[in-house]
Symmetry: C2
Subunit: 311 residues, 2 copies
């Protein structure tokens, strides 16, 4: 049986919100030809400009029945008036699984599809969303949420995760797995956590430890065992570790390593100190230690990074 999947866009939509699911379903379809029929819809159809300026072609909103309708997000959702047509349409169209990416949840909420259900949206909008739709049980911590047949997802790229989950439900774990492997970069360790996970992760949402982070950055050259950090945060070591992982998602030791690496990398790329000096200043002590840490995190030793940065 072929499932009709519709991705809904509108002027000012976020390109990735739509492209992620489209690609995911496309690749799943490659594994199971005939499993999906995918279309891109927009009020009125035609070329629709995304917030990035790039335009995508769409067909007009049409009658169902659809298996899945995926509302993309984007700045357009800030003025819901322009989305009236979509909201009216989604209320009446025949669909088994309504879903949204990112701020697309506003459309579903406005249409009343989320009342009494658990849902999520982009983290930068949670306060506003919660105020506007008190009937929706908002859970900002999840990447995506399924409540019955209504699915919502958070951050922009979360649309990909959402789609993979939909695919898994439809076609089973096997297909979902190969699709994930095709899409997501082969998650090997050497390149590992892209260089940016360090940038993204640390900080935590309440900012409870941001002072501590600053303090760490200032004391990188000293040894920083868990006890020392706990002392600085005025907690018991065990409890500190617990709170820290809960807040930041990383264990203390790993976080320190991340900060050391980040500092060392910028020092290596932009500064002129010899590598040994950098190693000492960032607390790696032994330059050999640093070399290996670099290999693990960036896939190449410090020297290579410096050369690359200098052209």
């Amino acid at each position: 049986m072929t499932r009709r999947i519709a991705v809904v866009i509108f002027p000012g939509f976020q390109l990735l919100d739509a492209a992620g699911p489209l690609s995911a379903f496309e690749i799943a379809e490659r594994h199971r030809p005939g499993a999906y029929a995918i279309s891109v819809l927009a009020p009125g159809g035609g070329d629709v400009a995304s917030s990035s300026g790039a335009r995508m072609a769409a067909e007009p909103l049409s009658d169902g029945p659809f298996d899945t309708i995926l509302i993309s997000g984007g700045d357009g959702t800030r003025s819901l008036d322009e989305l009236r047509e979509i909201i009216r349409w989604i209320r009446h169209v025949e669909v088994r699984r309504p879903a949204s990416v990112c701020s697309g949840a506003y459309v579903l909420a406005e249409a009343g599809l989320l009342d009494g259900r658990r849902a999520t949206t982009h983290w930068s909008r949670t306060d506003d969303f919660a105020r506007r739709y008190p009937k929706v049980k908002l859970d900002a911590d999840r990447i995506f949420i399924r409540d019955g047949d209504v699915w919502t997802s958070g951050g922009i790229t979360a649309g990909i995760d959402l789609s993979l989950a939909l695919i898994e439900e439809d076609l089973g774990t096997g297909v979902a797995r190969s699709t994930a492997q095709q899409l997501v970069v082969h998650q090997r360790r050497p390149g590992g956590q892209s260089q940016f996970s360090a940038l993204v992760e640390l900080g935590g949402r309440t900012g409870r430890f941001s002072d501590l982070m600053d303090w760490i950055r200032d004391h990188l050259s000293e040894p920083l065992p868990v006890e020392r950090l706990a002392e600085q945060a005025a907690m018991s070591p065990r409890n500190f570790a617990r709170a820290f992982t809960a807040e930041t998602g990383t264990t203390p030791a790993k976080a320190v390593e991340r900060l050391r690496l980040e500092a060392a990398r910028t020092a290596v790329e932009t500064g002129h100190d010899p590598i040994d000096r950098v190693a000492e200043a960032t607390g790696f002590g032994d330059p050999e230690r640093m070399r290996r840490a670099f290999l693990r995190a960036f896939g190449q030793p410090a020297q290579a990074l410096r050369r690359a940065a200098r052209h």
Copy 2:
């Protein structure tokens, strides 16, 4: 100074390859208005169909100078003939940073821009690529690679990582960091590694431990400390742990936990055994242990998953 960024597409291109970088630069531009001028180019311009069927609007290939040109990948690269025009164009156009996503590396390689340089491409194409372009030093393990001013990236979503690195080079770590935060789902732990990292990661490229994995799956109900696994693999514990992390990217204990979770999840969703029974069968022993493991990994307890699966 405004940098001209061009994303190049062609019939059969992979939508995400283009959309990822476009969104990344768009958001960076929001942080630093005027930093980038982004355009989408294709031979002849007009509406270009991606391999997913969705069409994107493009301008014709134009003269530079460009700061950055990003060639997207896609099935289209399998028959390079259709890409002749792009290859001819990229050879002569004025550009500071040529870059490619995924199989877009074929275009750069064909144009000779990668000769003698280190580069990467999608992992499913590495053999073919290496055979075809022996002059290119292919390193398939990296997410993206910079050699001088030429950048290439692997898997489809790696285009996002690549773009973030470009942005960091241009506008500094701060902007790159906020862009990453906007784009990537706020990488919190509760939902943490999307549910799919388990599916993607394990296995390892040489398959050295796949027998062991099967064995583990068959013995989940027993306690599985590192020693036991090492014994099964006929290695010393220390050496086993080392080899295992090198191969799979995860530590043994974590991998076992992943396998337990995966097994438990399907048992909970598709089977009818009471939760306690599942906990025992999958080696969690204490149901409370399993409950917490579920919360950590999936953000909701087993009960909720079962309810969700049953509609």
